[in-house]
């Protein structure tokens, strides 16, 4: 088992390994609980190493292709056929960037869950579903095939819905799961219908082959609308945001952190459809303007809805909507500016900002949800009015909360600042008003988190509680480590990780060429 062999098969291994582990977990669970926990954590650590290993190769050597079931994994178009007929996994900079996020957040969530769900029933099934969520996210991100993407989208939705309803002894968690499941199913059927529309015209399912064949007919436009509506619904952008607070607030906190990453997998699918599938056939400036409007609405509605909330996780969920707005704004400004040659360097900057914000948001929002879970673990309430004085007893949790809150508000030493600055700079070139609104939202975010910090951690000691168990602290520490690392070296991260991802997204021709050749 040498390195080349491992590298060649790593795209398939990355998806297969958690799938295998998901089926093994219930069997190991029968024999020993400790062995099961160790097994899940070990698998996720190996997964993280594999993803970093593949990421290193993709960032240095370019797109990585893997054809399922072929005699030669890089042979996408068989000799007898003119088009790719097998399922192709296509890993470019953007895909592996998203895979890094998914693997890291899953690892942190699994470590955190060890203690967090200690008192619940059916823990074997919990880990199976957690691994299936990871399979769904990675599958969506690494695949180069529309139908395969639909299948993994459904795997992701079903596993997520089951996990949201995990604490089924509470009425509100099944209610949130029902809403999530219905929205996801409608979105998935829209995607399937759009795939059928595309298949009807071109007899193709492969993204790269479709992208080279697409004509932008009326049916293609309908398919585009269906795809954008479906993925925007799934990623929680305004005006289809209403499921987000319900589902995020009732899920177990480690799962909420994963739901953030899962929404971003849908965001990735949205970008993949806009940039790669339709790409140059679209009128980029118009689409850019539409995405900017979506982004502004999400930012503003999210933050204004967040301020009056009393439920800590609901408040954070509304902030998640608002932060999704930043990503859309960044990428929308990028699309808009790329059409204007004199500003095209700012266009790439804006896309880098938007994409950098994706990873930053997954890390600090994940961390904030985990701290909210730590508070819930000790106090058994999500209501801010019943908290207070936790800073006396839960020192580490409050430190993690401060780091997360400062990062989300974009305060300099942390990672949120770096990505927001890129977005402010580039958005200023489109219109100064965009930057002003973005900064205003940032200030409102800070205000809202100051409120949370004050009511949860400050004040006299009311509750006689202890610090949360070590494994929960370790889960939070993983994400904090990434936040501080990205905050201290933003330049390195942008030029080595974010820039290749933005380039990969903008370069449609390379994506097509990797599959179809010449």
């Amino acid at each position: 088992m040498n390195v080349d062999w491992l590298l060649e098969h790593s795209p398939a291994l990355i998806i297969v390994l958690p799938l295998l582990a998901a089926f093994l977990t219930p069997i190991i669970d029968k024999f020993s609980k400790k062995a099961r926990n160790a097994f899940v954590i070990a698998v996720l650590i190996i997964e993280e190493i594999l993803v970093i290993f593949l990421a290193h190769d993709v960032f240095t050597n370019g797109i990585h292709i893997y054809t399922m079931g072929a005699a030669n994994p890089t042979e996408t178009v068989p000799a007898q056929a003119a088009v790719p007929i097998r399922i192709v996994l296509e890993v470019d900079g953007m895909s592996i960037f998203m895979a890094l996020i998914s693997a890291t957040v899953s690892l942190a969530a699994a470590i955190y869950s060890l203690a967090y769900i200690e008192e619940e029933k059916g823990k074997g099934k919990f880990y199976t579903l957690l691994l299936l969520v990871l399979v769904g996210m990675l599958g969506m991100e690494l695949t180069g095939d529309m139908f395969n993407m639909f299948v993994f989208l459904e795997v992701l939705s079903i596993a997520c819905a089951a996990l949201i309803a995990y604490r089924s002894h509470f009425g509100d968690s099944v209610e949130g799961a029902f809403k999530f499941l219905i929205i996801s199913s409608i979105a998935a059927l829209f995607v399937l219908f759009a795939i059928a529309l595309l298949y009807a015209q071109y007899d193709l399912l492969n993204i790269a082959a479709l992208a080279s064949a697409i004509n932008y007919t009326h049916l293609d436009k309908i398919a585009l609308v269906l795809l954008i509506a479906a993925f925007a619904m799934k990623c929680g952008a305004v005006p289809m945001h209403f499921w987000t607070p319900d589902a995020y607030s009732v899920a177990p906190s480690s799962i909420t952190a994963m739901l953030v990453a899962a929404s971003q997998a849908s965001l990735y699918a949205l970008f993949r459809v806009c940039f790669t599938l339709y790409g140059v056939t679209l009128n980029l400036a118009t689409i850019g303007a539409v995405i900017i409007i979506f982004g502004l609405l999400s930012m503003f509605v999210g933050v204004t809805m967040a301020i009056p909330q009393k439920d800590i996780k609901r408040l954070m969920a509304y902030h998640a909507i608002s932060q999704t707005g930043y990503m859309l704004l960044g990428v929308g400004v990028g699309l808009y500016l790329l059409t204007k040659p004199e500003f095209s360097s700012y266009g790439i900057k804006a896309m880098e900002g938007g994409i950098f914000h994706i990873i930053n948001h997954a890390m600090y929002k994940g961390l904030l949800f985990l701290t909210a879970g730590a508070i819930y673990y000790r106090l058994k309430t999500r209501n801010l009015n019943e908290m207070g004085g936790l800073g006396h007893s839960m020192k580490y949790t409050s430190i993690f909360f401060i780091i997360g809150a400062l990062a989300i508000a974009g305060i300099p030493p942390f990672n949120g600042f770096a990505s927001k600055l890129l977005i402010y700079e580039a958005a200023y070139k489109v219109s100064p008003i965009l930057s002003i609104i973005a900064m205003l939202v940032s200030i409102l975010t800070l205000a809202s988190f100051v409120k949370v910090f004050h009511s949860a951690f400050m004040g006299p000691k009311i509750h006689d509680v202890e610090e949360v168990p070590k494994s929960m602290l370790a889960g939070m520490a993983v994400l904090t480590f990434v936040i501080i690392l990205f905050g201290l070296f933003p330049g390195w991260v942008v030029s080595n990780i974010v820039h290749p991802a933005a380039q990969a997204l903008a370069d449609q021709a390379a994506y097509i060429q990797a599959v179809l050749g010449g």
């Binding site: 299948v151 509100d172 409608i186 298949y199 009807a200 439920d311």
Partner: protein, 119 residues
């Protein structure tokens, strides 16, 4: 003209499904709407693969005089439909079990009364 009838049916099924999901208050009826919507999309996929006077795409014991594979209907949309049906079963099972749990907690299936989450 007669070959367009499946497409009209597809549109009708999708609209009925969406109507049921948007305007019906009973959670079971929402689940039924979901399956109707899904059958509409599945019918669309199946219809795409149809060829005039085609036979089933199976090699065992083809009718005599059929030249392979020109007279066969397309198998790919059928495979896609099968996958989507399998997924539909899983989604429906989950929707119905969640509905059962909602009934146990709230004692009602009326979606207007199932709103503990609204502020």
């Amino acid at each position: 003209m007669i070959y367009n009838i499946p497409f009209y049916t597809v549109v009708a099924l999708i609209l009925i499904g969406l109507y049921a999901m948007l305007f019906k208050r009973n959670l079971i009826k929402i689940a039924i709407g979901l399956t109707i919507l899904e059958s509409g999309v599945n019918l669309f996929l199946i219809t795409l693969g149809y060829r005039k006077e085609g036979v089933a795409p199976i090699y065992t014991n083809l009718p005599s005089g059929i030249d392979v594979p020109d007279k066969m209907v397309l198998p790919v949309p059928q495979a896609l439909t099968l996958t989507s049906i399998v997924i539909g079963v899983a989604v429906l099972a989950l929707v119905l079990s969640i509905t059962m749990m909602i009934y146990r907690h709230y004692g009602t299936l009326d979606s207007r009364k199932v709103r503990r989450l609204k502020e």
